[in-house]
């Protein structure tokens, strides 16, 4: 290898890849459970500032557990959102832990608004749910708490490959964005808190680039629900600022309320049917589509201005709205792909199919099967993104700590480390080649259009997959000019992988279910498709199998 870099070797009990809200929650929870266990967070940007929790909506889902039971929400979710593909037991656990999680976040320093009587200040969003606005310094507060508990943190280092030994996790490799230093980290447990795949399209979703998912796939762990990686949201067409709850008020150019026909109740969040209606309007000559809040039947959604009324978040949102006000001269909207593929398959303790390897938060939400037939987090369950990360972080702690305590000191496999090192720096070694952005642009052109990603058909899946395969051809030719660019090359490769997995699994699922919408198979097929699609790398081959959803053991039953 011509690239000359420093080689740093480290060892820890638990390595956490990713310093967003999930990684920090896991770190704190592991230390609370087992103070003697060494915990190291490695984050490719800056722990406490990276991730999505601190630049998104900043809302936490709230359940009044004195009034509703977890099974009430599960029943609603299975019928309206998850479409019988979710793990009902796991979803019930998430709901039951709600108030505990809010108290824990407060204990760890997060600012949640409270009423004078000490209760949380909540905004109802439906008969079963409510939201609490959390200030956007949540992750900074959690970082401080983690550091006080002795968690070690390394920033600006990207985790690239996972190391295994005898089928179990043994650590990871990575490199510094600042000076290229190669990191070889031996670890007894590894927790992936690296986010979902969002293809670098939506602004606030830009940190989810799927490189953690790709590392897990390369290591041979199973992925689940890869076809649910096509979330989209309505945005203002000029500023691309999202319009939450806008789908209830979509009007075509003829002034017709195009989303009222399928609205049986106020939608909990954007539905793929609304995106289909937008597509129909655009193709049948009745577009573009505008939102109208003052028309009959139109009603502005939740009073969001009150949700944002927080000292830290206020300035963030003021800038977002103020800068956009000159361009947002009307309420024309169109969908924007967000993605949210979160497919690392995990059990209730967030352990993947590789012993000692865990995945939490946005990396494994669909892989955990909790949300069912919807891309998440938060998917169509607003406020569940941050809390799912907290839930998963808490849920993995005991198992990850115990695994680290019982596992022998890991030895890294020299051949694996060498191979990883070569793979990591390969784009810098090439004399010439295409850029990471050439590859990303191609993948974006496949996944971006709604008729290729959300409202799909066998012919369009083929076309999109062919574009992705053209991008795949370019991957071995990518040339990086520096370490920032090197990371882009790895992210581009991960985007190609995510998109290929998405389209191959989408072609298999010959039905429509929940968010998943096929023009050529418009009906939900409970006879043949109460199944999860499992993807796995077997000796370099992308393989797919199906697994029956064990719905018989849960309360809410589908009609077969």
């Amino acid at each position: 290898m011509n690239t000359q870099v420093k080689h740093t070797t480290l060892s820890t009990d638990v390595l956490i890849a990713g310093g967003g809200v999930g990684g920090l929650t896991a770190a704190i929870s592991i230390k609370e459970h087992a103070p003697d266990v060494e915990v190291l967070i490695v984050e490719k940007q800056t722990t406490g500032y990276g991730g999505k929790a601190n630049k998104g909506g900043g809302v936490l889902q709230y359940f009044d557990l004195n009034k509703i039971k977890p099974e009430d929400f599960v029943k609603y979710h299975v019928n309206v959102i998850g479409a019988f593909l979710g793990d009902q037991e796991l979803m019930a656990k998430y709901v039951a832990m709600n108030n505990h999680m809010l108290d824990k976040l407060t204990e760890w320093g997060a600012r949640l608004p409270k009423n004078p009587d000490g209760s949380y200040s909540v905004i109802p969003t439906g008969p079963l749910t409510a939201m609490i606005g959390v200030d956007l310094d949540i992750t900074i507060k959690l970082r401080r708490t983690a550091e006080k508990l002795g968690v070690k943190i390394i920033d600006k280092v990207a985790i690239s490959d996972l190391l295994t030994k005898d089928g179990k996790i043994a650590g990871a490799t990575g490199f510094s964005l600042l000076d290229g230093t190669f990191y070889e980290i031996a670890a007894k447990s590894v927790v992936m808190a690296t986010g979902s795949q969002n293809y670098r399209i939506g602004s606030m979703w830009g940190s989810g680039r799927g490189d953690g998912i790709a590392a897990v796939y390369r290591a041979g762990a199973e992925l689940r629900n890869v076809e649910f990686g096509n979330f989209a949201q309505l945005v203002r067409v000029k500023s691309h600022n999202e319009v939450v709850f806008g789908e209830n008020n979509m009007y075509n150019a003829k002034g017709e309320h195009i989303t009222k026909n399928f609205l049986k109740q106020r939608e909990p969040d954007i539905s793929s049917l609304a995106i289909r209606e937008w597509y129909f309007a655009m193709t049948n000559g009745t577009g573009p589509v505008h939102l109208k809040f003052d028309a009959p039947g139109g009603e502005e959604g939740a009073p969001l201005s009150k949700v944002w009324d927080r000292p830290y978040g206020q300035e963030f949102w003021r800038l977002n709205h103020e800068r956009a006000k000159d361009v947002d001269t009307d309420l024309e909207v169109c969908p924007m792909l967000i993605g949210e593929q979160s497919p690392i398959k995990v059990g209730h303790d967030m352990q993947s199919t590789i012993p000692g390897l865990y995945a939490i938060g946005d990396a494994s939400y669909c892989g955990s099967a909790a949300p069912g037939a919807v891309p998440a987090p938060p998917g169509r369950n607003r406020g569940s993104g941050i809390l799912n990360a907290v839930f998963a972080g808490i849920s993995c702690a005991e198992s990850a700590a115990n695994h680290a305590k019982s596992a022998p000191q890991p030895e890294t496999d020299k051949a694996q480390v060498e191979k990883s090192m070569k793979r990591i720096y390969a784009p810098l070694e090439r004399e010439s080649g295409c850029t990471a952005k050439d590859v990303i642009r191609k993948v974006q052109s496949a996944v971006g259009p709604m008729e290729y990603s959300v409202y799909i058909h066998a012919d369009r899946i083929d076309k999109a997959l062919n574009i992705v395969l053209e991008a795949k051809e370019l991957v071995p030719t990518m040339k990086a000019v520096d370490y920032h660019d090197l990371l882009s090359c790895h992210e581009a490769e991960a985007m190609v992988l995510s998109a290929e997995l998405h389209y191959r699994a989408s072609a298999m699922r010959k039905e429509s279910r929940g968010w998943f919408l096929r023009e050529d198979y418009p009906e939900m097929d409970n006879k043949n498709w109460l199944k999860w699609i499992i993807a796995k790398n077997v000796d370099g081959e992308m393989t797919f199998t199906t697994e029956d959803v064990p719905y018989q053991k849960w309360a809410v039953q589908p009609v077969i």
Binding site: Q45, T46, G48, Y49, G50, G51, N54, K55, K156, L177, L178, R200, I201, S203, M204, G206, S207, V235, V237, K238, S239, H240, M282, G287, P288, E315, F316, L319, N320, R323, A324, V327, C334, P335, M336, L337, K437, I440, R441, Q444, S445, G448, P449, M450, E451, H484, L487
Partner: protein, 81 residues
């Protein structure tokens, strides 16, 4: 978003070298110059116009000027390309 044309205006005379903007940038646009104790806006073409750097700067040393037209929504209809 890739290859955006957002502008980041920096007023070095207002900067106190706290480094918060560098930490805040979640897409590695901003690097830190240890000698001058000032940010370097090294990869502006990767800016996602999140305004996070500007909102954490208590001294008003940073202003993000978005070029919304340089962002693509990637739809097949001409008006949203």
């Amino acid at each position: 978003m890739i290859d955006t044309k957002h502008e980041i205006i920096f007023h070095p005379e207002k900067c106190v070298g706290c480094g918060l903007c560098y930490k805040a940038c979640f897409v590695d646009v901003i690097r830190w110059d240890e000698e001058s104790k000032k940010p370097v806006f090294k990869y502006v073409e990767d800016c996602e116009h999140c305004f996070y750097c500007e909102s954490v700067c208590k001294k008003g040393a940073i202003e993000v000027r978005p070029n919304y037209a340089s962002e693509s929504l990637l739809q097949t209809f001409d008006r949203y390309r």
